[in-house]
């Protein structure tokens, strides 16, 4: 691995360093090994710090309250020993409609992510591969909106969605009404279009060679066909990135449903959790509930761990 471009003096210095390295090979090896041990020790300390609350949560969810409090003074707090059962989980299902909450969250998440992938990728396609007047202005506006935190528009948004028209079925008749509060759509529709997703799609699509479009157009393909048959199949990583980045906030939504959904049967898991927690100090059951809504996400994460990490990394690379 000689760098032919390096100047003679650097090369000479390098050679000198190399020969010095051979002389101290043994001590170097020893130094490296202590370095490695130190690294593993440091990483293990951090691993314990990151894992202990979650292990405590899962373990406690299996114990009755009395035992949780009894074990707290010893390492037993982290071990599934003693009176272990799934009673807390059954208790949760008895007390609140967890199945309904889970259904609501899954429905909201799947629709937000799924529709978002379609809508935002089409917008990204229009912005990156089609020449139409005004697209640069539109792109600039979309990028500018990235600076607006949702928290700043949340309260005015409640006021706004409370006045939007909606269709309702009342006694078998389709009626026209106002107000989106306490619906599924209020939890989904505002989050489908996402400026950051559009931006990511635009970036990714513009790296695909334009000659593919031209070839397809000569074969008589329309723009939508090009999008669907050429660009989408080539953009797996972009779709995965957007799916992951929108999946987590959709599943974890809290502030918004807290304000716009009061009807229990429409609540997502996070808000259902907060209500459950407020009316309940049976810690074992609380831990069972939190475990129940954490495990699915954790499993998804562990399975797609590689995609998760590269998605997060991709979101930060642009600077």
């Amino acid at each position: 691995m000689t760098d032919t471009r390096s100047r003679p003096d650097t090369r000479a210095k390098g050679r000198a360093a190399a020969s010095a390295r051979i002389a101290t090979d043994a001590s170097e090896k020893r130094r490296r090994r202590t370095g490695k041990i130190f690294l593993y020790a440091a990483m293990s300390v951090f691993a314990v710090i990151f894992l202990f609350p979650l292990i405590f949560m899962f373990v406690s969810s299996l114990k009755p309250d009395a035992q949780i409090l009894q074990d707290i003074d010893s390492p037993m707090a982290f071990l599934p020993v003693g009176d272990i059962s799934l009673d807390n989980y059954f208790g949760v299902f008895d007390r609140v409609p967890v199945a309904q909450f889970l259904f609501n969250s899954v429905l909201v998440t799947v629709l937000t992510v799924g529709l978002g992938l379609i809508v935002n990728s089409m917008a990204g396609f229009a912005l990156s591969r089609l020449a139409w007047r005004g697209r640069f202005v539109v792109l600039a506006i979309i990028i500018a909106t990235l600076i607006v935190p949702f928290e700043t528009i949340a309260v005015p948004m409640v006021y706004w969605v409370a006045q939007l028209p909606t269709l309702v079925i009342e006694g078998g008749v389709l009626k026209y009404d106002f107000g989106w509060l306490n619906t599924y759509e209020v939890q989904i529709v505002p989050f489908i279009a996402n400026a950051f997703s559009i931006f990511l799609f635009t970036q990714y699509f513009s790296t695909i060679p334009k000659s593919l479009d031209e070839a397809a157009r000569i074969d008589g393909a329309g723009w939508f066909t090009i999008y669907r048959r050429i660009i989408v199949p080539l953009s797996g990583p972009a779709f995965a990135t957007v799916a992951i980045l929108t999946f987590l906030p959709a599943w974890n939504q809290y502030l918004w449903p807290l304000m716009v959904v009061q009807r229990e049967e429409l609540r997502p898991v996070m808000v259902g959790m907060q209500y459950f927690f407020q009316l309940n100090t049976a810690w074992g059951e609380v831990m069972a509930y939190t475990s129940l809504i954490t495990l699915p996400v954790l499993i998804v994460f562990l399975v797609f761990q590689r995609a998760f990490v590269s998605s997060i990394a991709a979101s930060g690379v642009k600077g």
């Binding site: 003074d73 559009i198 959790m273 600077g319």
Partner: protein
């Protein structure tokens, strides 16, 4: 959409179809059509609420009210800064929170990234472990840590064990002196893995040859970090600082779940206070004004950070 005078109307259809037939025209139509769904949704649920936040902040609008909103000028802003100690305290708490969280979280994230940025057996497992709190919902994390922070909870029992009973801890969340600090700890714990990954991505853009050259010049690990790693991380640093700052200023869930702003207002934050005013007390106009103040603060801080950390060439 456009009203054409009758004299021109006769030839307009033909021109329109001809334009539609040209490739250029069809491309424009296709572009607009494919932009439309996202565009309409963004206007409805981003642009209009932003405009609404702006206009409502100059009114006395209420969430449910028989009277139409009335224009009150800068009253809401004057009230916030001169006549509302809770707002000022919330702003101060938010600032304090960000002041601690931003450097500590960015620094810890970088430390973790440097630790796991090497080819070693098992290093991926550590990356995954450090990232696990990030995928755990902040609502879950807040409830869990509320339990850990109890007077007879795990944190106190661990302190008790480590100090051999010399120090038996306290009621962290019910003490105005420690409540915000306790929330800072769990907030860093939850999000640091996210920034570790961003730093890691930045570290991996630094070419290996630079390190080899530095080693040949006899640079030790610290020297390598200062002369090679740190300059190479500049663009990443801007991103990490800006994202941490914005999310730190938006602190809400932890407060809502853990302390409700208490004890004695020691953990109330701007967003928490805006939601309380606007939603619970229905003062939408005032809440919009607070949101606007928050947004301007975010904007200024992000711009200042960008300017301070940008390359000077």
């Amino acid at each position: 959409m456009t009203v054409t005078p009758p004299t021109v109307a006769a030839e307009t259809p033909q021109r329109a179809t001809r334009r539609f037939r040209t490739t250029k025209g069809r491309e424009t139509w296709a572009g607009l059509a494919m932009m439309a769904p996202a565009g309409i949704l963004l206007v409805l649920f981003l642009i209009i609420p932003v405009i609404l936040a702006f206009t409502l902040s100059f009114t006395n609008a209420r969430l449910i009210s028989p009277n139409p909103p009335r224009f009150v000028g800068f009253d809401n802003f004057v009230r916030a800064f001169t006549n509302d100690p809770v707002f000022l305290q919330s702003a101060w708490n938010t600032f304090l929170f960000a002041l601690v969280v931003v450097p500590v979280q960015a620094g810890l994230g970088l430390l973790l990234a440097v630790l796991v940025n090497r080819r070693m057996r098992g290093v991926t497992a550590f990356r995954v472990i450090f990232f696990i709190p990030v995928v755990t919902s902040i609502v879950v994390v807040s409830i869990l840590w509320r339990f850990l922070y109890q007077p007879n909870g795990l944190i106190n029992s661990m302190i008790d064990t480590i100090t051999f009973g010399a120090w038996s801890g306290m009621d962290w969340l019910n003490n105005p002196q420690t409540a915000l600090g306790a929330i800072i700890v769990l907030s860093i714990w939850q999000a640091v893995g996210f920034h570790m990954i961003i730093w890691l991505a930045g570290l991996q853009t630094i070419p290996e040859e630079l390190y080899e050259a530095a080693k040949m010049d006899g640079a030790g690990p610290w020297r390598q970090f200062v002369s090679v790693t740190w300059p190479g991380l500049r663009p990443t640093m801007v991103f990490v600082l800006v994202t941490i700052t914005i999310s730190a200023l938006a602190l809400f869930v932890q407060i809502d779940v853990m302390t409700q702003g208490g004890p004695t207002g020691s953990t109330s934050t701007i967003v928490f206070y805006a939601v309380r005013k606007g939603y619970e007390q229905q003062e939408i106009g005032y809440a919009a004004a607070i949101s606007l103040i928050f947004f301007v603060a975010v904007l200024i801080i992000a711009l200042v950070q960008r300017r301070l950390t940008r390359d000077k060439d």
